[in-house]
Symmetry: C2
Subunit: 315 residues, 2 copies
């Protein structure tokens, strides 16, 4: 029998990206087009099916070689039934994505949320390839997480495992409210949003910094300023790294992963961020949880979503 | 073929307890005798083999029905090789328990640490029976933990997963040092040792309490005083429950278990402890992690170790 291929769909608010992976998780082809969420779920589902058919027919592979189609979606998903319960950036509520795509494609379809899917991508053929126990953090607008055990996403009782951004690490009296309603989640500090908030606060207070509100401050601006020696920016980067390192220490004693993979826009900050995270992590775990354990940047970049989505149909 | 039975060994510093379980994890017979750790590992291993042979021959079961023997041991274990690396209460270092017992018994032998084994016992036929995602805390001299997924102990990269007592929850400036070398682990506050320490500190400071140093204070004394309305004791119980609830909230967003099972001597305190833990837990997790999730006392008591040890050979 000929080689199987796996098709992944990264369904974003603006664009739909589809990709074909081989059995080793190597991304062979991608195709990207507009989501057109304003046309409603039916039109978006039609478009996904069209993109999936197109990328396969444009390739050297046959439709019969497709083992399955996976889709990663930012939102809450009823995994048992393959229903997107709520996806704010698509304005979707209770959309039966699995059954709708299966009927359009005649193939098995699997769903998961974007952070889990990105983690699976990195575990399959990215920074975690070949390892059995991987925990991934995605530092973007929020802090996402994914737990990959033996190449599978660990879901827990209600599919909510790996919500690592909601580990509460900031002491109560220093904490601010998170989008989840709790106080002091690591997401409030270590996400791009958290970093920008701290920077704006510092500028607003008139602290001595090269950062300014004239331009829209981004997390990258803060990291760039920190690299240039701006002490306010350095303090903010250290704070983001500190609480992320503390959250990782908590995850370590619970799960004892071999590798932490950190992706998302914020992770592009490089050594200035990673050196600090590693230092805080090692200081906050018993030694056995640091031996042989590493903390590395994700390697698939924006492709992690489409690769991981493709991997949802791995047996 | 006749029914299989599972033999468990709870190897303590003072006594060895062996038990026979049926395929549903029901404990049918137990036999207990002295460990005699002072005679050295060889003698203890001989004694374990002797007790295992005795309990089977005294029963209505045949030796051929024994599916395997499991042993729970307080200490660090090299799971891959079945070697006890270090067991302080036995004064053991690098004892090849698995191979030594297998050669004495001619049966497969599996090992794990006492907290994992107790968790497995509760998940098999105790407070977690029938559920797929269980997290157990054992509140004794320390705070042990065990993660049971689909009826198996989750071990992680180096077999150190589930070291839940070392989740750091006490704010740094309030923290004391834990046996693991870190500061502020939940074990420093929510174990029997932590509760007794807080009580002795309060008495030593001359606080207005019915507790006294004339007798040796136990955790039970503190709970009894709290039930009688002693405000110092109530404050200590609330503190122990508060930090345990915070640790459980961290575990929840990582693993999303369906049930938390709390065992060990401290768990016998009953509602005064559990009501407070539940309150703190619910306050500290996003709502989805509280829906359908419960926090219950262990039901197997001191038998959890022998039942869970027997369960190590479940396929």
């Amino acid at each position: 029998m000929s080689e199987k291929i796996y098709v992944g769909v990264d369904l974003g608010g603006t664009n739909i990206k589809v990709g074909i992976c081989d059995e080793q998780g190597k991304l062979l082809h991608t195709y990207e087009g507009p989501t057109g969420a304003e046309d409603g779920p039916e039109a978006v589902l039609d478009r996904i099916a069209q993109y999936v058919k197109k990328i396969v027919s444009d390739s050297t592979y046959q439709w019969e070689q497709v083992a399955g189609v996976g889709a990663g979606i930012a939102g809450f998903i009823d995994l048992a039934n393959g229903v997107v319960l709520f996806a704010p950036n698509l304005k979707w509520k209770d959309v039966a994505v699995k059954s709708e795509l299966e009927s359009r494609l005649g193939l098995p379809v699997a769903l998961d949320n974007d952070a889990n899917v990105a983690a699976l991508g990195e575990a399959w053929s990215g920074a975690g390839a070949g390892l059995k126990h991987i925990v991934a953090f995605t530092l973007g607008t929020g802090v996402g997480g994914g737990i990959i055990i033996d190449g599978r996403i660990y879901q827990g009782f209600r599919g909510m495992a790996g919500e690592l951004g909601h580990i509460k690490v900031v002491p109560d009296l220093e904490a601010i409210q998170c989008g989840c309603g709790q106080l002091g989640c690591v997401e409030t500090v270590s996400s791009a949003t958290g970093i920008v908030r701290m920077a704006k606060d510092a500028v607003g207070r008139g602290e001595a910094t090269s950062l300014s509100l004239n331009e829209t401050i981004s997390a990258k601006d803060v990291f760039d300023a920190a690299k240039d020696g701006d002490e306010v920016a350095i303090r903010i980067v250290k704070r983001a790294a500190y609480y992320l390192g503390k959250a990782m220490a908590a995850v370590a004693v619970v799960l004892n992963p071999q590798r932490f993979v950190i992706g998302g826009g914020v992770s592009k900050a490089g050594d200035i961020l990673f050196d600090e995270i590693r230092k805080v992590y090692v200081q906050n775990v018993p030694e056995v949880f640091a031996q042989g354990v590493d903390i590395v940047p994700a390697t698939l970049g924006n492709d992690a979503g489409v690769v991981g989505a493709a991997g949802l149909n791995l047996k």
